[in-house]
Amino acid sequence: MEPTGFEEHRHTADWALRVWAPDMAGLLEQAARGMYLLMGVERRDEPRAERELEISAPDPESLLVSFLSELLFILEQEYLVFDSFDIEAGTSHVSARLGGAPCSAIAKEIKAVTYHKLNVQETSQGLEVTIVFDV
């Protein structure tokens, strides 16, 4: 198995995404890429844009929910989708410099990132989590 990645998991009503990476920064990046893919987000090449994010949360799961929710909000409000992730993350804080461009299409909508059975687990390879999105 690749050291970082994501895959869709079976869920009756919503979407479930399993994500793995060596560390929290990688986990956030893979979760973001997987979320965009599930939504069928397509990106223009330019104009390029950057955003800096500082997010604090009481635990890794809340940090993950806040980070992805922030990306969904930026996508909905500014039609901006990121493909470059420069992230520093601990268990309760993330500093991110994100680069991207306007999206040209979104096939499907995510209503929310849920806490359902959300548990960032340590594995021999690093970290792993399954995220359920309400759609």
């Binding site: 909905e76 499907k108 359902h116």
Partner: protein, 483 residues
């Protein structure tokens, strides 16, 4: 894992999981299902989620699960749970992100035969007058000050602007406005999302559908509602858009801390909750009601758009193209109601997530015309299959906190649906069967294919067999608009 042996059979349509099943259950779980539906539900996590829901503090009676149940997140879709006032909990996840997602049904005296040549144009016009799709804009955008009014006034806000009639409001749950809504309890982010999205359908499983009344089962109730065999009806299924989604997200995040503060232990973080009489609980209730009122107005504006579409296409071509309101009802909501529990009347907060209020004859709050029939219960099927109009009964008041099912219920995962069904083929199949389809996204259409849902007729057989609803009419789709 829950197995069939863990259920106690009460009747052919009712089953129970006692509190002895798991040590942390506070009340039993009561399921309305045929044996087939019950066995099918064991394939996903819906029953386990119902058992988890039964651990919420302050629960009374049973956690109820409807036959259209399926796995959700935290709380199962098709779940009903009542907590005692004043200090039982309110749980945003037990209401859902799409606060006051619901269904509105409009009736007409337009004969299918007369409208048939114009159905394709009608589908196109509905798609035009009722904006839909991901993040859809172009509906009825409002300013900050107007949004605050919408939060308090709900569908009534549309009266002065020519978007609603007195009959529309009278035939909407709670008259289209819950009291106690407070825009001050709503975040700036929720308002930013809500302002441009008012009057839009969105995407996902939301839809507008033109149906024909295929069969009437209760002529008296159908006459009161203005439903006649062979005539067109219109259904609108949507909710509070990004406004409600953000409110729920905000409070689920805030309540992660609240449960620690109040010493509440839960098996799933999505079930986080707070006592209703706590500052956190009161704030969420005020914000949830604001989202509910937004959703009532949202469906009202879409109904206005649908009326414009009908006029644009059918004026001069049919005798009367008017659409009259039959009812508008929520299926994701938390409501303060009075119910009899263990022989004692008490005030409770009924959480309904993917479950429809189904008040029986004589229940308080129903419009005069529905007092003797019971409240209309609107059960949309999946695209291409039947929808049903039911009414609430004495049985629903006694056994399900005045609630019934809300739809067919998913059975196929979205990933499976995508693998097995192609959106373009599905559209062709539906068109061949005389159902005109307008869809913003073909992959999205595939995920909502009829094959992804249970047999709605089996669901209806269960709720009517159990006596928690009564059949009024069966509807057949002729045009579907999806975001």
């Amino acid at each position: 894992m829950v197995a069939l042996k863990d259920f106690r059979k009460i009747s052919d349509y009712e089953w129970e999981i006692p509190t002895s099943f798991r040590h942390d259950m506070r009340v039993p779980v009561r399921l309305f299902a045929t044996r087939d539906l019950l066995e099918a539900s064991l394939d996903d996590l819906s029953i386990e989620q119902a058992v988890n829901a039964a651990t919420l503090p302050g629960l009374v009676g049973h956690v109820i699960v409807m036959p259209d149940m399926h796995q959700g997140y935290g709380f199962p879709i098709g779940g009903v749970a009542a907590t005692a006032l004043p200090d039982g909990v309110i749980s945003p996840g037990a209401i859902g992100y799409d606060i006051n997602c619901g269904v509105r049904l409009l009736g007409s005296s337009i004969e299918l035969e007369a409208a048939e040549p114009f159905l394709s144009d009608l589908a196109t016009a509905l798609d035009h007058y009722c904006p839909s799709g991901v993040g859809s804009h172009g509906g009825y955008p409002v300013t900050d000050a107007e949004l605050d009014q919408v939060c308090r006034q709900g569908a009534a806000w549309g009266m002065k602007r020519g978007l609603a009639t007195e009959q529309d409001l009278r035939r909407t749950e709670e008259g289209g406005a819950l009291s106690g809504a407070d825009p001050a309890a709503v975040s700036a982010r929720a308002k930013a999302r809500g302002r441009p999205q008012l009057g839009t359908l969105g995407a996902g499983n939301h839809f507008i559908e033109v149906d024909v009344v295929e069969q009437v089962f209760d002529a008296g109730a159908a006459q009161v509602m203005g439903l006649q065999e062979g005539m067109l009806t219109l259904q609108i299924h949507c909710g509070s858009r990004g406004f409600g989604h953000q409110i729920c997200s905000d409070y689920v995040a805030q309540f992660q801390e609240a449960v620690r503060r109040y010493g509440i232990k839960l098996p799933d973080r999505e079930l986080v909750c707070a006592p209703m009489d706590s500052p956190e609980g009161k704030a969420y209730i005020a914000a949830m009601r604001a989202a509910a009122n937004y959703a009532f107005l949202n469906r009202q504006i879409l109904a206005h758009g649908a009326r414009q579409a009908f006029e644009a296409v059918l004026a001069g071509k049919v005798r009367n193209w008017h659409l009259h309101q039959i009812y508008d009802i929520a299926h994701n909501m938390g409501k303060e109601e009075t119910h009899t529990v263990d022989g004692r009347q008490m005030r409770v907060c009924v959480h309904r997530k993917g479950a429809t209020r189904a008040f029986g004859p004589g229940a308080p709050g129903l419009p005069e015309e529905y007092r003797s029939t019971g409240q209309p219960v609107l059960v949309p099927g999946s695209m291409g299959t039947a929808s049903w109009v039911l009414v609430g009964t004495e049985g629903s008041m006694e056994r399900s906190f005045g609630s019934s099912c809300h739809g067919a219920g998913r059975v196929l995962s979205r990933s499976q649906a995508k693998k097995e069904i192609r959106g373009d083929e599905l559209r062709r199949t539906l068109e061949k069967r005389g159902i005109h389809v307008r869809a913003g996204s073909l992959p999205g259409l595939a995920e909502e294919a009829p094959q992804a849902y249970k047999d709605v007729d089996e669901v209806i057989k269960t709720v009517t067999g159990a006596g928690i609803a009564r059949k009024v009419a069966r509807l057949r789709p002729v045009a579907v608009i999806k975001g």
